[in-house]
């Protein structure tokens, strides 16, 4: 088994998702079965194969290096759950 209680807690922490015990149990099961299933990729010989990260066959065009004012802070803050004097507000970070 690749994913145990410790691993799922570590991944959940890295993902910043709080899991309760029941959820952890379920995800341990799900993730292990998915990882067992993807294991079949090891059958494929990928020696000297370049990894494919961008499928786009077109060449990236260059753009003019000019500044553009596209968004006001007011617009950016419009959907913030909490804001204060033109900033996003979050719980206190430093004592």
């Amino acid at each position: 088994m690749k994913i145990d209680k410790n691993t799922i807690n570590k991944i959940a922490r890295l993902s910043r998702i709080k899991l309760d015990d029941k959820e952890s149990e379920d995800y341990i099961k799900d993730l292990n079965s998915i990882l067992d299933w993807v294991e079949q990729l090891n059958e494929v010989n990928t020696e000297n194969v370049e990894p494919l990260s961008n499928i786009s066959s077109s060449i990236l065009p260059k753009r003019e290096d000019v500044s553009k004012d596209t968004n006001s802070s007011e617009e950016i803050l419009e959907n913030a759950p909490d804001k204060l004097e033109g900033f996003f507000a979050v719980p206190k970070v430093v004592e």
């Binding site: 799922i8 993902s15 990729l41 059958e43 990236l60 959907n79 996003f88």
Partner: protein, 474 residues
């Protein structure tokens, strides 16, 4: 009333046989009648009437003036909230318009509403939405069927005749599979043809916008309207967009179709193998050369996809942290607790599952074994297609391994659910254009789809083959 096509409606509007108001009131009436299907996440009659008012004052000629279009709720729209079918974006009102929807607005179309989808487009049945299931309009009473997914709301909206076209997005089959389930046409163009700007990101190297419509001609008109280069999407392609509709040509004489042997999969229902054979026979009669081809890495496409897509999703969805927009948990004694509770309460089960698996395959010590390995297999899958397209002009396969299944049927086993995408995922990994058209029915009279795949940016060939098959079937 029989379903009117976009092409016919444009003519009727031009000759004043019908007014923009009359046309849209007809659609509004049907939308209200079909509310029980839960096709829309956001629908406001007032908003539609306002758009009609504005268009009536507008004297300029526009290509899609007055045409009712439904928008998948993954596209940011200024005039309507955008949720991605997630609680975490429940109260999100974009302050900007996505590239694709802006193009449709510029051409004068009317947005009838935002359609339901799987949460963040992760699913194949529109059953992971925070706003509940969408019901396939082809369901019999008391036997609700899934519309497919993730763009199930958009496919259902076209099938129920609640619009003349709809936008969708396709990451691993999310346009083609629901099109097949709902008996409509759905096209996913080449990766990079339509800008992703303003679409909530799922897996950025795969996500692509596309179109649902009643028929191939309408799809060719609408795709041309949403395609084009955009500086704000670094993978947007700078290619000329042909007039697909004007160039439609159903004469396929002398063309070669590739039939990949790896798409004959054990357990595929007879009826699906049958429509595949029927399509091949039709093409043969039209003078198309049949070429048996091999795409040897096909069976590895699904596991490759289910490493790459969750990996990219885990990174893309990091932005939903309760700070900048959307939902924030009430339990926030510290910053970390705010993140963890917000994401625990804001995301649904499938989305969390994919974030967790994506985080795992990208984490230190596992990156090479999973993510890098998958990217290498992806290269082999793309190379398979490149080789095959040296011998053929387009490829024909079934779209999905089943017709629409009962709602909630496949929910518990994630891998079983992932198998829905078996015929659509390989082309997604290779970035190729693909269309699904209705072609035949199963024993329960449910529609089945045929998929046509083309070379990069050869949407015209895909449309030509599709329109040819469609006309022979009608």
């Amino acid at each position: 009333m029989s379903k009117s096509s976009l092409k016919q409606t444009l003519k009727d509007l031009e000759t004043k046989k019908i007014s923009i108001r009359e046309l849209n009131q007809d659609y509004l009436k049907r939308i209200k009648e079909k509310e029980n299907l839960n096709i829309f996440i956001h629908f406001s009659e007032e908003n539609v009437l306002k758009q009609i008012d504005n268009l009536e004052k507008d004297n300029s000629a526009k290509k899609l003036k007055g045409i009712p279009i439904a928008i998948k709720d993954l596209f940011c729209t200024k005039s309507m909230p955008t949720t991605a079918a997630s609680k975490i974006l429940e109260n999100f009102n974009p302050t900007y318009e996505s590239f694709v929807t802006q193009k449709l607005l510029d051409e004068g179309s009317i947005f009838v509403g935002k359609t339901n989808l799987d949460e963040f487009a992760m699913g194949s049945a529109t059953n992971t939405s925070f706003f509940g299931n969408t019901i396939n309009p082809l369901s019999k009473e008391n036997e609700p069927l899934a519309p497919g997914g993730s763009s199930g709301g958009s496919a259902a909206a076209v099938a129920a005749d609640l619009c003349l076209g709809a936008t969708g997005t396709d990451t691993g089959g999310s346009i083609r599979q629901p099109a097949s389930f709902c008996g409509v046409v759905g096209i996913k163009p080449t990766y990079g043809l339509c800008s992703r700007w303003g679409i909530a990101a799922f897996a950025s190297s795969l996500d692509q916008a596309g179109i649902f419509s009643h028929n191939v001609e309408d799809a060719s008109i609408l795709l041309q309207s949403i395609a084009g280069f955009d500086q704000r999407d670094s993978t947007s392609a700078k290619v000329d967009i042909p007039n697909y509709f004007e160039n439609l040509d159903d004469d396929l004489n002398g063309k070669t179709v590739g039939i990949p042997k790896e798409y004959s999969i054990d357990g595929t229902p007879m009826e699906i193998s049958q429509i595949w054979e029927d399509a091949i026979k039709v093409l043969e009669k039209k003078g198309v050369k049949i070429k048996n081809i091999s795409l040897p890495h096909t069976k590895y496409a699904l596991p490759t996809y289910y490493i790459i897509a969750p990996a990219e999703a885990s990174s893309n969805l990091a932005r939903y942290d309760g700070v900048k927009y959307g939902f924030r948990s009430d339990e926030i004694n510290s910053l970390d607790e705010m993140y963890e509770n917000t994401r625990a309460q804001g995301f649904g089960r499938e989305v969390k599952r994919r974030i967790l698996i994506g985080t795992y395959v990208l984490s230190a010590g596992y990156y090479d074994a999973y993510y890098l390995k998958a990217q290498k297999v992806r290269k082999l899958i793309a190379d398979d297609f490149n080789k095959a397209f040296k011998e053929c002009d387009f490829i024909v396969t079934p779209t999905a391994p089943s017709a629409a299944f009962p709602l909630n049927e496949k929910q518990n086993d994630p891998i079983k659910m992932y198998l829905n995408d078996v015929f659509t995922v390989p082309a997604s990994l290779a970035g190729l254009p693909g269309i699904s058209i209705p072609f035949g029915k199963d024993k329960n009279n449910l529609p089945l789809g045929i998929q046509i795949l083309g070379k990069h940016f050869d949407e015209q060939q895909v449309f030509n083959a599709a329109v040819s098959l469609e006309r022979s079937y009608e």
